[in-house]
Each structure stands twice: as C-alpha cells, then as structure tokens.
C-alpha cells in the first residue's frame, strides 16, 4: 500500500495547460508510431506557444513536421496521410488562421466517413489555440467553435484545465472521428494537477465543477475559470451558483445541462464567441424544450457582440467579464 501511494504521487504532476498538451502529444508519439504532429513552426521552435516544445528533437522531422505556411495544405495533406493509415495531429497556429482550411475541414474531412459509407475513417485532430484576452492583433483572438459545431461529421472539444488538456488530447487522438481541439490560449499557463495514470471519464461528458442550487452557469474552455470566479462573488451575495464545464461542444452533453437546470431552475450560458447563432443559442433552445416547466427565467447568454473582434484595448469590453456575467445572473433572478 505504501508502494502504491508513492507510485500515485509520481504519476501526479503539476502542469500548465500548454505543458499538459505537450506531455500528451509526447505520450501519443511514444505509444503509437502512426501519430504525426504537423503544423507551422511546430518543429525547432516548438510552436508559437511552445506546445510542441522538444517534440521534434526527440521524435525527428519525420514525426514532427514543419509544414509550408498553407492551412488548407496542412489539413488536406493530413487527410491524405490519414487515408494512408496515419493519425495526424495538426496545429493551426491561431484561431483566425483556420479559414483557409475551412473548405478541407467542412467539405472533405467532415464528410468522408459518411460518403464512403463508413469505409474510410479519418482520425485527424486539429489543434486550434483560440479565444482572446491576450492583447493580440486581429485574427489572433477569435472563437469560431460554432462555425464547426454546425457541421455534421466533426467533433469539437475544449479543455478548461490541465488534467482535461492532457486526457482529452489522448482521447481525441484515439478517436476514429475528426476532432477539433480548441485550446484556451489565455489559460495556457494556468497550472493544475495531472494524473497521467488516471482513468479518464468519457470525452464528451460535461462536468459539474462547482455545485450550487440557485442558477447554473454553463461554459467551456477559457470561460470556466471566469464562471468559477463569478460563483465565488455570487456566494458572497448569498446566491448558490452551479458551474458546469461543458468540455465538448459537439456532441454537447445536454443531459448534464438538463439535470443541472432541473435542480437550479435558471441557466446562463457564457462563451467568448459572438452570442448570435452561437452555441448558447442552441443550448437555450434545447433546454427551453427539455426544461420548460423547471425554468424560473429564460435562458440567458453572455458572449461576444456581433462585431469583428475589437482592437486589443477594447477586448475587455467585448469579452464576457465578471461583472457582465453577474449582470446576467441578476437579470435571471429578476424574473
């Protein structure tokens, strides 16, 4: 028993999210010779966020591939490599750079399994650092997850903590479906415990990260931490908020949202992406249908505005903030 507890401690590391993804990629490269990492600057540089740091040094240029600067080419050749039996993990350097690859993702990657009547599987993972809050120039702060969630054939996940970053990447690579793995870039350096010998839960299940009784805050990726902070402040004001980390945008764990809302009677959905036609809209529609008689208030949404992502000095106004979410909470209680 003493031996076991020592072993357990050794398998638990305190890692930043970026490092957890790095360790996860390393593990995949070690265990499956068919895994390759591809992208712009992923080799010697280790990626602009250093997520692939040291991988090319240890696994070589044949496994960790610096690509030409052409996103459609990256995804298109990854599809070809997957057809040959490889499991490519490709990096799109920033959220706003994914659109040259949008055609390959939507038209080819998403549909190949269906159009081949299941004969072709494309286990491709597309990593995209996403979201704002880092003071970047334009095209470096966007949250395009809904644009992909609308497309059948893709799965979309986004971790909010280091443990999920590690394990969800393992599961995404193991998936026989294409997975878009949105990485909350402003949380890359947030640390958390990762047990590399744990048995992870299902990839597409939401998790209650804080229990509450009066209102549910549903969020994913970078907004989970914000919602936890909101819940802390609300607690001081005597309100008990439940925080749900959705983790997966497609499929979305509506059962978990429903179960929470049936307990609390109120729901506020928070994401950085624009509210209009965003994932919050889909959640609001479905939860209204599922929980009509449990709801004390309409489902409210907090997110980006219907405007291009603003210059960095305005982004704090554009992004959901503590006060904006608290404002929505107040409105939900006012009904």
């Amino acid at each position: 028993m003493a031996v076991e507890s020592v072993k357990a401690r050794e398998s638990v590391k305190n890692l930043a999210i970026a490092k957890a993804i790095n360790e996860s990629l390393r593990k995949a490269l070690e265990t499956d010779p068919k895994v390759v990492v591809m992208g712009e600057d992923v080799g010697k540089l280790g990626g602009v966020f250093r997520v692939t740091d040291g991988l090319q040094k240890d696994f070589g240029e044949e496994r960790v591939i610096d690509t030409p600067l052409a996103e459609s080419g990256i995804v298109g050749t990854a599809i070809g490599m997957a057809l040959r039996g490889y499991r490519p993990v490709v990096e799109i350097q920033f959220d706003g750079f994914v659109f040259p690859a949008y055609d390959q993702i939507v038209t080819q990657l998403a549909k190949m399994h269906a159009r081949s009547l299941g004969k072709i599987k494309l286990p491709v993972v597309i990593r995209i650092p996403y979201g704002g809050g880092i003071g970047a120039v334009e095209h470096h702060s966007e949250s395009p997850e809904a644009l992909f969630a609308h497309v059948a054939g893709l799965k979309i996940v986004t971790p909010a903590n280091a443990s999920d970053a590690y394990w969800m990447m393992q599961q995404a690579i193991e998936s026989d479906d294409p997975v878009i793995f949105f990485e909350p870039k402003r949380r890359y350096w947030d640390k958390g415990e990762v047990d590399t010998e744990a048995i992870p839960g299902p990839l597409h299940k939401a998790q209650v990260v804080r229990q509450g009784t009066d209102l549910t805050l549903a969020a994913y990726g970078p907004m989970v931490k914000l919602c936890q902070e909101v819940a802390d402040v609300a607690a001081e004001e005597g309100r008990s908020l439940e925080v749900l980390d959705l983790r997966s945008v497609s499929p979305l764990d509506f059962d978990a949202v429903q179960a929470s809302v049936e307990r609390t009677g109120r729901l506020v959905v928070v994401h950085e992406a624009p509210v209009f036609f965003g994932s919050g809209a889909e959640i609001a529609a479905r939860i209204t249908e599922r929980c009509f008689y449990h709801l004390e208030a309409p489902v409210l949404r907090v997110g980006g505005y219907h405007a291009p992502y603003p210059p960095a000095r305005l982004e704090e106004e554009y992004l959901p903030s503590l006060d904006r979410v608290l404002d929505a909470v107040d409105r939900a209680f006012a009904y």
């Binding site: 052409a70 050749t77 040959r84 080819q108 081949s116 009547l117 059948a152 799965k155 499929p251």
Partner: protein
C-alpha cells in the same frame, strides 16, 4: 532544373510536321484570349491522329515491348469506356440518373495513364475519371450510384486503390500529396496519381499540393487533363502560360502530352510514376485533350463554343487513331472489332439493367456513418425520426 518537357519540346519540334502545324493552330487560339501568350509548345506524341507511329527518343522505351494483344487491350478499354459513358448519358436523358459528367474525347488520357499504374499505386480522381476507374477494376455500375442519388460514392476505395470521386475542384490534389507523403514514410515503392483539370489548376489547393509535394519530395504524379474547357471558360481564363510549365516554378518536371494519344499517355505516365517510385518526387503531366461533350448533362456548350472547334478535335479522336494503327501495323482483323462491338452492347445492357435495379436507399441511411464512433445528437435525431415515422397509422411513414 531543366524540365522534362523542355527537353521533349526540342526533340519533338525536330521530329514531326503534324505536330508543328498543331502547334501553330493552338498558338493562334491562345492569342485570341491572352495577347502576351507565346506560341503553344510541342507535346509528346507517339501516334499521330492518322494512326501513324512516330518516334520519341525519350519515350519510345516505355512502350517498346508492348504487344499487339496489349494494344488491342488499350483499344478495348477505350471502346468499352466510351460505350459505358454513352449509356450513362442516355440513362440521364431517360431520367434514370440525375446527372452525368461525360468523359467523351478523354478516353486516351484516362486509359493511357490508368494502364500505366501498378496495383499498389493509389488514384485520386475527380468526378470524370470513368476510364481510370475501369482500369482499376471498379465496377462501372458503382460509379452511377452517386449520379442516381442513392449514395455519395460508396465503393471501397481500398479494394482498388481508387479513392471516391471528388466533386469540389482540386481538393483531392492535397489528399494525393498527403497519401504520397505517407507512402514515403512507410518506405513503400508505390506511387500516387492525382487527376484534375485545367479549371482546377487555378485552385489554391492545387498550388498548395505542388508546394507540399515538392518540398517533401512526395511520390505523386499530377495528371492534369486540359480538356480546354472548365464548363464555359476556356483555358486562357485559367492561365497565361502552358499549364505544364507551372511545374518548373515549383521545382519539378512538367510535360505536355497529346492527351488523345493513348500510347503517349501511357509512356509519359509510366515515366512519371517510375520517377516517383525511385524517390525523385512529383511530376506534372498535362494531357492536352478535348471535352467532346458537355461539361455535364446539365450544360449547354452551344452557348459558348462553336461546332468548328469540336470538328477539329473530332479529327484527332483517340479511338480512331488506334484503330487505324491496329489495322495497318498489326494482325488485328475485323473479327476483333465485331466481337468488341458485341461486348460493348452487352456492357451497355448490363449497366442499364443494373441502374434500374438499384435499390432505393433506406430511410435511415442518412443517420448512418456520420461518425465512426457515434454522436449523441445523431442518436437523438434518429430516434425522433423513427418516432415520427412510426406515428403514421400504416407504420409505413410518409
């Protein structure tokens, strides 16, 4: 790097009058659209439109050991492909298919390149590669499912190393390149071939495929059938240089071949595939040919091109020239052609019957295969659809 085509150009220019006069005609045509276009370059040709064998020092070796039986085989492939294609066009006119994209006129480009392939090579086609599919052993009736609307393809690409038809222009050039990168990683000595057309040559994906294949030295052959028309747009709306010359800018050889000459297409493709297998990287082959029919059965070419152009290309028909050669230079007798005619009609009949007998897809088929590992939303919607269907009193749904 000096391109293969540049070498060919000099050699062929000295070798044949017929070729030189075609060159002038083409130059005049190009000059209409692009005033800076230079004279059209010469192309690799082994069989003249009249069916006369001409010598090519560079390419003769690739067809030197071809037997009369093999020549008859190429002829049979082209005739049966054309017959299948005609049947499909007729089936569309009869309402049995929603659409058909005819390959009429491009038989030599497809059969010549298709027969250059080995079993372990892999093909990435557009939606018009019916002749290549034939060479790969894909049952022609399988090609018709998507045009009838019962599936989106549905054959197993790995049974014949023939990928599904790709409709969005040029996307498959990247898939071929990635596949070839995988072949190289595996240390396999296979080659990959990507088909596309003059229209697709304008797509970014094709340009990116050239870049990726060049920098990774991928074993891929880009086989561009320049059939002169991208629906209604002539080639000069896609390019100001002969398409094969684009390869030079990417650092690999490009060659223009007479796309209506099955022997030349066979030879040029063999050479390119062998280069790829030897680890010498990609080649761009531009098969200079002509789309004799409409873009698809929904198209009306009379709105954008004249009969005289078609007539000029009719004189360069790929099947007629091989027939003339077989009759003049081999022991082929009329019996061969008669038997082939019978076989041809039987194929047409078989295709017709197979199309009419195709089962309608199951109502629930659209929920199948969206994901390999399943998806909660698909499950939920399938259940909703089933409940809706079951809500009708006769249990048959709407």
């Amino acid at each position: 790097m000096e391109s293969t085509a540049a070498r060919t150009q000099r050699r062929s220019a000295a070798s044949g009058k017929a070729g030189a006069s075609r060159g002038r005609t083409a130059a005049k045509k190009a000059a209409k659209g692009a005033d800076t276009a230079t004279a059209e370059p010469e192309l690799v040709q082994l069989l003249t439109p009249e069916g006369r064998r001409v010598s090519s020092p560079e390419y003769d070796a690739y067809v030197a050991d071809i037997t009369p039986d093999e020549l008859r085989g190429l002829y049979r492939d082209m005739v049966l492909t054309r017959r299948f294609d005609a049947e499909a066009t007729a089936l569309q006119r009869q309402g049995e298919l929603g659409l058909w994209a005819s390959l009429l006129g491009q038989e030599a480009a497809q059969i010549g390149s298709g027969r250059a392939l080995r079993d372990d090579d892999y093909v990435f086609p557009t939606y018009r590669e019916h002749g290549v599919a034939w060479c790969r052993g894909v049952d022609p009736t399988n090609l018709l499912g998507m045009f009838r609307g019962v599936n989106h393809g549905g054959w197993d690409p790995n049974s014949n190393n023939f990928h599904l038809y790709t409709i969005v222009i040029g996307s498959q050039a990247l898939h071929a390149t990635g596949y070839a990168m995988g072949v190289a990683k595996d240390g396999a000595e296979s080659a990959v071939i990507a088909y596309f057309g003059d229209g697709a040559s304008s797509q970014g994906d094709v340009a990116e495929a050239f870049t990726f294949s060049a920098v990774y030295n991928a074993p891929v052959v880009f086989f561009c059938q320049n059939n002169q028309w991208a629906i209604s747009e002539p080639t000069h709306r896609q390019t100001r240089v002969p398409l094969y010359q684009r390869a030079q800018g990417y650092g690999f050889p490009g060659v223009r071949v007479d796309g209506n000459d099955v022997l030349a297409c066979l030879a040029v493709t063999k050479q390119a595939l062998e280069r790829a297998r030897r680890g010498e990287g990609p080649t761009l082959v531009e098969a200079f040919t002509y789309r004799m029919g409409a873009h698809t059965t929904s198209d009306d070419p009379t709105r954008y091109r004249g009969d005289e152009e078609r007539a000029a290309w009719e004189a360069k028909d790929p099947i007629a020239r091989l027939r003339a050669y077989l009759l003049a230079e081999t022991d082929t007798d009329e019996g061969f052609f008669e038997e082939l005619e019978t076989e041809s009609e039987a194929l047409g009949r078989r295709v017709r019957e197979a199309v009419r007998a195709m089962p309608e897809p199951d109502k629930f088929a659209m929920f199948e295969h969206t994901y390999a590992d399943g998806h909660a939303l698909v499950d939920e919607e399938r259940a909703q659809f089933a409940a809706y269907q079951a809500s009708f009193s006769d249990g048959e749904g709407v």
